[in-house]
Amino acid sequence: MKSFWLGMCGLLSFSSLSVARADTLGEVKKRGFLKCGVSQGLAGFSAPDKGGLWQGIDVDLCRAVAAAVLGDATKVKYSPLSAKERLTALQSGEIDVLSRNTTWTFQRDTQLGVDFAGVIYYDGQGFMVPKKLGVKAAKELGGASVCVQLGTTTELNLADFFRSQNLTYKLVTFEKNDEVVAAYDAGRCDVISADRSGLFADRSAKLKKPDDHVILPEIISKEPLGPVVRHGDNRWGDIVRWSLYALLEAEELKVDSKNIEANKKSNNPAIRRLLGVEGELGKNLGLNTNWAASIIQQVGNYQQIFDRNLGKDSPLKIERGQNALWNAGGLHYPMPFR
């Protein structure tokens, strides 16, 4: 709560006119917890469970960064943000890292004062319609009312898609994902458009009769979703990027939270380097040598995270598909740890 008084002083006196250099790592260490921006509730990515604990793949990234920096994956304060608020919250310093199914685009990367630290989930935009409409393909959607969430790339892709197909549509936007789904369920629009993973999540968790709705096969956009940090603090960007790669590298090396102790005795140099048994990779990031080990120990590797939040151990049952590792036909390719 020091920030309260600091803010008061800053506001009342305007005394400190000098600009300090951005040092997110130092601030997080001093503060003792990580401030992570997440969604207001999207099953599988970031949503509070019944006990109020945040769960999801995006949440696990926050936990991984906290484990790497602070050695404790629970030292995270989550800020639920709407799509509209998220980037300004990051710009203004309200959060240290934004992990909120955010699409990496040129405009965002270059114009908004933020940097993308990698891709945690390769997604694509799709459509969901009620089965009774009898729509089989997105091309048949001319003249339909489409519900989307405000302030997302979805909104922009939709405009592009209908324009390129020479079709008209009626746009209906809402600020919160819950409102979009509720409006669609009530019949305010014919179609709901969002990232396909989100459509699967919403269908199983938020619709009154999930079986009456079908997700169309088309994917109309590339949606690389990943964590975002403020532009200009490269050290912090490196930490988030390599925390993400550590999750992927651990899967590639088949190290997970259960076998990590055994693997510490492994004589595979790649595993030894990752777990900090050999070399001092962590030092270069300004972290402890066991930074990656504590990520894997406390959060797991990418496969474990995927399975429990989105994949076979979750209600969503999403296939790995593009989100498999590069050597298994997917797109995830962790850069070499050396």
């Binding site: 600009v19 951005a22 405009q107 908004l112 004062g113 302030g151 939709l158 746009l171 305010r188 014919d190």
Partner: protein, 380 residues
């Protein structure tokens, strides 16, 4: 205490305050510039001429491929003004009804009016909005089961569909004719009154000033511009005609019903403020009850009513920004919402948005001020 002493102290005080204010503003500007440049955030207003790349669900002016952020701003502004104008009209009409109920001779009517006012004005506007949007309009049927409210008028969960002139320029003709009629009528009325002063009675064409504002628009109806486009069910939705989206309907209805409670009380207080002796005196002079209302009661009541009424109209305009809560694309939602999110230029966009509201508020204040002067001068 000499005069000079105070004035020196006065200068000191003013200098001190000015210094503090300038320091405060300077600090804010300095911090903002430092923050923006430290984070590499683009600044300036050049983004306004860039293509927006998104669509807007409801727009009075054409918006689509190649439209810029400035166009998006214009669409948002038009939608805000539309809500404000419709809300002001609706609230005034309903408010008058509420006032009449409150002043009615029948006790049951008074009870209804009083209950309405007490219930409505003690509940937040946002709740009214949620009530109309989620509880009422969400219950409407799907397009295929639309309610038909008359020839070519349909109501469903997607909105209210009305026949509408296919060529929108017809509306401008209508508006132009109305303004022209009002202006000529106003001029004729003055001339009639001057003649009354000179000759002691109104000229034979005395009713003309009241007919003209109706006559002129009627003439435009004869022009060959009124081919109507009618709503028809095609595929998923109704096509053609005018679609009033439920977000707009809910917003206008909620604003009208909420503000009517306040306006009703203002009108009632204004009419009660006129001393009862005035009515009695007018009746003693043999004025009809309509003339009593028009010539004696209303001019005096308006003097009490207009200032608080102005601030209610300002409230409607500002409250139209609640559109953001139910996703009607007004200025706040389109510009301070979508556009802000796409460009990320929070400072410029918020400053522009607030400046526009400030300007609208000042304009309404000014217009009501002129109107007030006219009314008071005209009748007094």
């Amino acid at each position: 205490m000499t005069r000079q002493k105070t004035s020196i102290r006065g200068y000191l005080w003013q200098g001190l305050i000015l210094g503090l204010v300038l320091l405060g503003i300077g600090a804010i500007v300095h911090n903002t510039v430092a923050n923006l440049s430290a984070r590499g955030i683009a600044s300036g207003f050049s983004f306004l001429s860039r293509p927006a790349g998104f669509d807007i669900g409801f727009s009075l002016i054409p918006f689509g491929e190649g439209s810029t952020f400035l166009d998006a701003f214009a669409v948002g502004l038009c939608n805000t003004l539309l809500v404000a104008v419709l809300g002001i009209i609706g609230a005034s009409v309903l408010g008058l009804i509420v006032a009449l109920l409150r002043l009615a001779p029948h006790p049951l009517l008074r009870l209804i009016g009083g209950t309405y006012v007490e219930i409505v004005r003690n509940i937040p506007l946002l709740l009214h909005l949620f009530f109309w949007y989620f509880a009422v309009l969400r219950q409407l049927p799907s397009p295929r089961q639309s309610l038909s409210l008359g020839p070519d008028i349909f109501l469903n969960i997607r909105g209210l569909y009305l026949p509408f002139p296919a060529d929108h320029s017809a509306l401008w003709w209508l508006l132009g004719a109305l303004i022209l009629g009002l202006w000529v009528g106003h001029w004729a009325r003055r001339k009639a009154l001057r003649q009354q002063e000179l000759e002691g009675r109104l000229p034979r064409w005395q009713s003309l000033p009241f007919v003209l504002p109706l006559l002129f628009p009627l003439i435009t109806l004869l022009l060959p511009i009124w081919s109507l486009s009618r709503p028809e069910l095609q595929g998923f939705n109704f096509v053609g005609g005018l679609q009033l989206v439920p977000e707009l309907v809910a917003l206008v209805v909620a604003l009208s019903f909420y503000t009517a409670a306040f306006i009703g009380e203002i009108i009632r207080a204004g009419i009660l403020a006129v001393a009862p002796g005035q009515r009695e005196a007018a009746q003693a002079l043999g004025l009809s009850s309509f003339d009593t209302l028009r010539l004696i009661i209303l001019p005096q009541a308006l003097r009490v009513i207009l200032p608080p009424l102005t601030s209610q109209y300002l409230n409607v305009t500002k409250n139209s920004s609640l559109a953001a809560a139910i996703a009607f694309p007004d200025l706040v939602l389109v510009f301070a919402g979508t556009a802000l999110n796409v460009t990320g230029q929070a400072v410029e966009i918020m400053a522009l948005t607030m400046a526009v509201y400030l300007l609208i508020s000042l304009l309404i204040s000014f217009a009501m001020h002129v109107f007030q002067k006219q009314v008071l001068h005209y009748e007094g």
